[in-house]
Symmetry: C4
Subunit: 211 residues, 4 copies
């Protein structure tokens, strides 16, 4: 593996441990990737079925644009590698992160009928790339869950096209995907979206009671 791969793998591990400690990657759930090179595409990808609190940099997998292992570690890439690759290509992302938190799971279900969660009026939104004011309205689309990964990748591609300004999306009763130009930005986006989803979820409690 190249120096670039090792450096990226180390930073993916630090991100995984941070998110696991917050309860966003429990039970080996979720996955993380970052671009090592663009042409041809090489991704550092978290392996399937590994405890994210105990992940080691030498367990990260190198995959190509077809989610095939390309030298280095053997191992099983996550089924969801195809979703990461789709996002990398369609958004030009440098890193893609996928978390399973309590609050993203709940809100992906509560707002499923609306097709997404509208997040508006929070200062935190300014941390999303390109957003300049808290008056921004972020639409976080919700996609129905499926075990047919190529079909899910197609739906994601369609959703990304339709919602060009979206910084992430939810898969119903499944989790959150976000991304960034690089890993630091992708991590920032996940932290912001998780924060806002929890804020909205807890506000639902209070608002309902006040009326």
């Amino acid at each position: 593996m190249s120096d670039g791969f090792d450096e990226i793998a180390s930073r993916l591990v630090a991100t995984a441990k941070s998110f696991h400690s917050r309860g966003w990657l429990l039970g080996t759930s979720g996955n993380l990737s970052a671009v090592v090179q663009r042409e041809p595409l090489q991704l550092a990808m978290s392996p399937s079925g590994v405890d994210k609190g105990e992940l080691r940099a030498d367990q990260l997998l190198s995959i190509d644009e077809h989610a095939q292992i390309t030298g280095g570690n053997s191992g099983k890439p996550s089924d969801e590698s195809l979703l990461h690759i789709r996002i990398v290509k369609q958004r030009g992302a440098g890193a893609v992160l996928h978390t399973h938190s309590i609050w993203n799971t709940i809100l992906s279900d509560v707002y499923a009928a609306e097709g997404g969660v509208k997040i508006e009026g929070y200062e935190m939104l300014k941390g999303l790339q390109g957003v300049r004011t808290h008056e921004h309205a972020e639409w976080l689309p919700i996609i129905e869950n499926s075990q047919n990964i190529p079909a899910l990748a197609g739906t994601i591609g369609h959703t990304l096209n339709r919602h060009e300004a979206a910084h992430g999306f939810l898969v119903r009763r499944h989790g959150l995907y976000s991304w960034g130009e690089n890993l630091a930005q992708a991590k920032r986006h996940i932290e912001i979206l998780e924060f806002l989803l929890e804020t909205i979820g807890r506000t639902l409690h209070i608002r309902a009671q006040a009326t």
Copy 2:
């Protein structure tokens, strides 16, 4: 103690500390075990009355299929060792974990009249051994609590027979038991079931208010 025992004891300690930090083993509650050998059965078992956040590998006990100490440390095995042994034998488990979390305590009570909690439609379910789709319906049986440990072991045996697909069970106002072929799988199962119980508990709040 054999090398196998020491290695297993170290990993039980790491699991105990991780769960204690999440508040799932407060007040010396809960217990953890893993199989060292099958014939004759030897289990590494957490001692009774020890702070799980300060547990040391040299405190783990070696017990046989009657929950008797078999060399190495002296100490008092948990009364619930018999329950671990029952699960190991009946499920062929390689590790058994028992947690006392806020949410497993609450849901074991709220759903007691139904006799269990039905968990269905969550991607997280796929982390349970043998589950292939989020459409899986997991039935988590609830057993009435008792201080008569042999009687409780009998009820557990009966419950495990009746619900052959169950990956865990709740004891009412007491806690969660889950297990796995090995310790990593058992830890994964606990993290998944705790996550799903908290998700269901918090959704109860929002659903009730929305209607």
Copy 3:
């Protein structure tokens, strides 16, 4: 300071850091003490106004039965030292811990009119010294808050006499006191009571909605 003092001071610091990380001692609130010797009484006591997440063993104070400094560090003992001394004498406690948690603050207020919180039917209760079954009913008295410390000490003395089986008490909108024969037992009692108060508080939400 004696070896006994230094050893006890180190363990008080470890307890303080653990509780601070759980949010039970924020903003320099709360205090911790343990008996170094009985005749004459010498207590190791946390100093007033120090961040419990940054407490060092060399900051612990040695005080006598009148809460006067007895050699070693100078510094200001907490005003509440008199409450610790009262508990030590009246219960024969070896350690006294006082936490300010979100949930103990809330429940000390919600149940103030009843004069206490009844905790019954939880397995966790068995971790309280002398309790043998989850069918135990623990009565956690609630005392009205006051800035008159000698008067508050008197009320506490009266409450301890009246509720001889109590393992702790709440001061309204203020916090929880618990104790034990030694520090390990006192820490266990705090963890158990905090767990049960949070469980009851969260159940209040769900129960109210289910009806």
Copy 4:
């Protein structure tokens, strides 16, 4: 940079990491400052856009009373530096801390129509500088959010004049500002106000249901 600066920078980093772990500075949000010298004014200020969980002391910026960099690191000071400077000058503060927590965001919105949150009757209030009794009533003003920083600084100045006893204020759907004579006191104030806001928010749930 002077020794004073390096020492202060190290302590700002420790505070940042502690608050980030509690979820009060997610997604590079929030900022921290402390006075290095008064005449002419020199502040150590957290840089814009940096992950507070990974902040290093050598990234802290030295700024003057116009929020201009004064030697040492280059980098971009937060837009909100002007707000810190305003507070330092008007309150004579030695440190200013600004957090984005779930609960301060929610309460800044729920109580916006009242113009502030009244916090009364909690022992925790005694940790605020100069407060001697839990009977103290703290008024935490809420200021409407704005991207016009000079205008926001003006509103803050006006608010600080009008509420001379306030130990902090909320910016609506944005966050909490507090300060202190030094960093330790400012950290104490933030922990206390965050604790009380969460307590009030969770009590709103229970109170609404009990009636």
